[in-house]
Subunit: 338 residues, 4 copies
């Protein structure tokens, strides 16, 4: 932590700050420049982070030196984390994992039909929503537990790992009873009680970036889960909110490189929610694989005209198949495999 | 709903869309222009909103005509809503309501000390957090129920209405047992299950705008609460996330005018979280009153150097007192009263 | 400047950085913490700002301590600058200056008609565009010099100061031959050659904030003008670009308080371009005056239905008059005058 | 254009709007729905775009149906445009063009040294700045004409096409006398007089997206150049401004797919300015090629520690060489060639 003093800071003010720092068990290190005096603070920053040093008289600015996350950081764990998803599928290593399926689970036949298609194309994880966060209270809110049953049934039948969203801390037990991977949606990235709850289980958690969260804030949310004891976290970049309106969100493709530098956790891309239009999904998926993402989560629907949600951004199976063939080649020349 | 067709849309495609619209019980209205054909759809838009018309072959664009919210809209309820907060305090009418207090409830003596000061200055609602959403799992997470007890005790002693945040659907019963007004924090503005839960009670709900939510999305979240049966909702603008980094968030002062045009619900301003620095709070508070906000929620702390959270943005009581005197004059010349 | 080293920085790397700093004539100040070593650099930061220290091996991060602007800073000039606009009008002192008029100068009769109205309401500066920055090449681009002639004629007739935009470095001589104040539009805030050119004259410059520029960047652009020798700069906040779409831009009302803390230059608000709708203009104008802005620039048109540009955001004279009466009262209770 | 009327619009108001539309030579098409009446307007939208219909009494909203650009649109020109850059190099076809070189031209020896390296790696266009837009008036502003001479000399010597920025309408003649391609920087994307000036020449123009401009606004700026008669425009996505602060800007990788859908013009990516750090450049470059960009513009410097600008984001030649080898493979499996 570095404390920058105002040009008119008095000796009394400086002493007051220095003594506060010492009282917290840290070592202040005074450096008097020509235009500003600064105090470097040596010792664990955490103690200072919660002390509002900016309000101390004479302080102009307080600058943290260390990142606020620990367990998720590359410094804490140098190697890439490889996470077991179940049924022999791992993410974070050489193998790129593609998760695909409908936005919402509508009925078992349709889910099975789509699941067969995505499996045939090379997906190993089946996605599908049973609890749906909808901006309107009048929209269909998902099948709930019945949807979870369908998902498990189809997943088992086809040997696919399953992932589905959990929206409520009260449902963590229920959802983890059915699904292999629990998704935390972007609107819940800072639902800290939900994060604590999934920190108590051992099933892998797919943590989606909030649409106005920085990569570092996503890592802080992951820190909640790891701090609870669950190290099986997969990050997911799904587009952030900007002024650009040609796409539903702006895919922050750089987040892959940034997250991989700061953290050991695997990171995947959701091109469907980023683009908001199926026709952009293949281009974004290719970009994701080329730049080093560990996987994708893609919306696929065999009858998008009839989909109860997100039909606009769902690929039909034939387009998904075509895209997967291209992705496999890209993965291969990048030294990986789908 | 207006469906804009591609210049190369075929008759067959047009017929397919028209028959879909009719099958949904709506009336299509074809208009063939020189450069585009458009289909105006007459009837309730809700049915169409969930139908992914953009994926129908031949469709270029789909444009909604109506706002997606109903109960919160000015069209549904022409007059300003006036909401009873308890202890005779109402919001939304001629009287401007100032809510003030510490960010976090730390202990009962400190809370009492601050509460006495804010009451003396003219605040009628005491704020204080018992459950704190913190970006770091290692930060103090609040006193929980003990904090709620202190809040109720101090509120009753001084005759102040109390407001505190509820972060978890499981705590709605607990919190509403102690506090007069339940706050939904900005990170939970789209925690739909929590919104449903506070829609089931009758206590007033202070709904904070998400930091990357539009005003219309805030109104959609309010719609969840009203749709559940609780019409006692107060909106709160607290700054949105932008690229500007001199302030913690960017106060969207226009949100007051926008919300008042679209909705009948009262709206207040939180200058403390918007600014992130106490020295900017008076200027923003004056702007809020001058432009027609129904109230303020302000962080006040008698010892900001020792505050466990948000000390940097807390006013000390003497500055709060000074600001309140100025606000009272501003309110008066604006035809209102504090 | 503070240089934060990587945890694995070697002694050799540290020595390399230290010797670079010394070679630049600065004094390095090493501080070895438990988790990071940092190097505080004492001496003028400018030299370092252009040295890419981040690429030196062993460097994790480089943190500037000082603001990059000088002449515009409050530190350089403690008192508020008061700038003479001509015809006895000054800005930056106790008197609030209201600039008003049509977006575009269309013809002399209309300009005169509007000018009379805004003068009657209390405006002392007449605005009107002769050179118009239009996003479409097919839109009307302004009357050019003829518009400037009309502006001067009407200004002189009515005793109003005049302000108009200059878009091109080649036109600075021409425009300053006619107008009292030269406006740099938001799209040109970082047109550095244009800034240099208006730095060479002595007429006041109204510098509008770029729609994606921070307050500090606006101050850096002002620095260009002051560095050229022209200290007569008035800042203008006119809304920034965000995701919110209910208003044309998001008025960053906090910019007034931020700019006044960092700089001695006067700052005004443009509520018309911020809102993009005339009905929001009065609320934003009141907010501006209440929070300490030194003036306003408002679009007024007597026949907005016929306006060639920005009719949607123009007040009609009677609404402008009504607003001015309210603003005068607000100014008075704020200890100022319109 | 679609005009949505307020629920309380009177017949008189409707007639007033209808007659205005007819007076403009267009055909109104009334459609009375259950909740709103709408007027579809048939005929060229341009006429209406400049008429402020929103201020007509009874109007709730005005919705354009057509894009405002013409010559740049895919509708106007179905095939991808292929643009000749000189020395046999074309962009927009099967061959991907890599432009590389230093941010600023510092001296001829260094430029030659870097140019040889980038050519050896496969770049065919040499970039280098002679006129530099700098946020500080105290920073080095470029060598000016001497820099242009060096660029031409080195380009000719090595058989490389040259690209350099023109910042000022007054310099278009000068710069086009030396360089093969003229770059319009992001800060000048809406410097309309500069756009008009480069519309008058026939040399290719590299148009960089403004950091807060939408893709559609970039296309409108390109429209200025084409409308002037110069159809040789190359678009460039270089990152937009968002709240994310791990990178200098947020690369909007989707812009490639969006621009290619809306327009026939080629589009390239600038990963260096987007990332702001050299270590992220290879990942972003790979993403760009994989998703279909027509080229790259990359900063390369052989001594980044000594670079006078942007050293932090410049690749050293060996890293550039390594990246180019990977890009060639990616291009090949994507059916293209570098």
């Amino acid at each position: 932590m570095i404390i920058v003093l105002r040009p008119d800071a008095t000796e009394e003010q400086i002493n007051h700050i220095v003594s506060k720092v010492q009282k917290l068990g840290l070592t202040p290190h005074l450096s008097r420049g020509t235009q500003r005096t600064i105090i470097g603070v040596i010792g664990p920053e955490d103690v200072l982070r919660v002390t509002p040093l900016e309000v101390f008289p004479g302080v102009e600015n307080v600058i943290p030196v260390l990142a606020p996350f620990k367990l998720v950081s590359r410094e804490f764990h140098k190697e890439d984390s490889v996470i077991e998803l179940g049924k022999g599928i791992k993410i974070g290593g050489n193998k790129i994992v593609v998760m695909a399926g409908p936005c919402t689970i509508e009925n078992i036949d349709l889910l099975y039909e789509i699941a067969k298609e995505v499996k045939a194309a090379g997906a190993t994880v089946l996605r599908g929503g049973a609890f749906k966060p909808r901006t309107s209270p009048y929209s269909f809110q998902g099948l709930g537990e019945k949807g979870l049953q369908y998902l498990r049934e189809v997943g088992n039948e086809l040997g696919l790992v399953t992932v589905t969203e959990v929206m409520d801390a009260r449902d963590v037990g229920l959802v983890s009873g059915y699904a292999d991977v629990l998704q935390i949606g972007c609107r819940n990235m800072q639902n800290f009680n939900l994060l604590k709850e999934v920190g108590q289980i051992q099933k892998p958690v797919l943590l989606k970036r909030g649409m106005s969260s920085t990569v570092k804030e996503m890592l802080m949310s992951a820190e909640y889960i790891l701090a609870g004891g669950n190290f099986n976290v997969i990050l997911c970049e799904r587009g952030i909110r900007t002024f650009e309106d040609s796409t539903r969100n702006t895919l922050d493709i750089s987040a892959v490189a940034v997250a991989k530098q700061l953290s050991h956790l695997p990171i995947i891309i959701d091109p469907s929610h980023a683009a908001g239009r199926w026709s952009y999904v293949p281009a974004l998926s290719k970009a994701a694989i080329a730049c080093g993402a560990d996987g994708l989560i893609v919306e696929v629907h065999s009858h998008p005209e009839e989909a109860v949600s997100d039909g606009v951004q769902s690929l039909i199976p034939s387009n998904f198949m075509k895209m997967m063939q291209e992705l496999k080649i890209l993965a291969k020349v990048s030294g990986r495999e789908i």
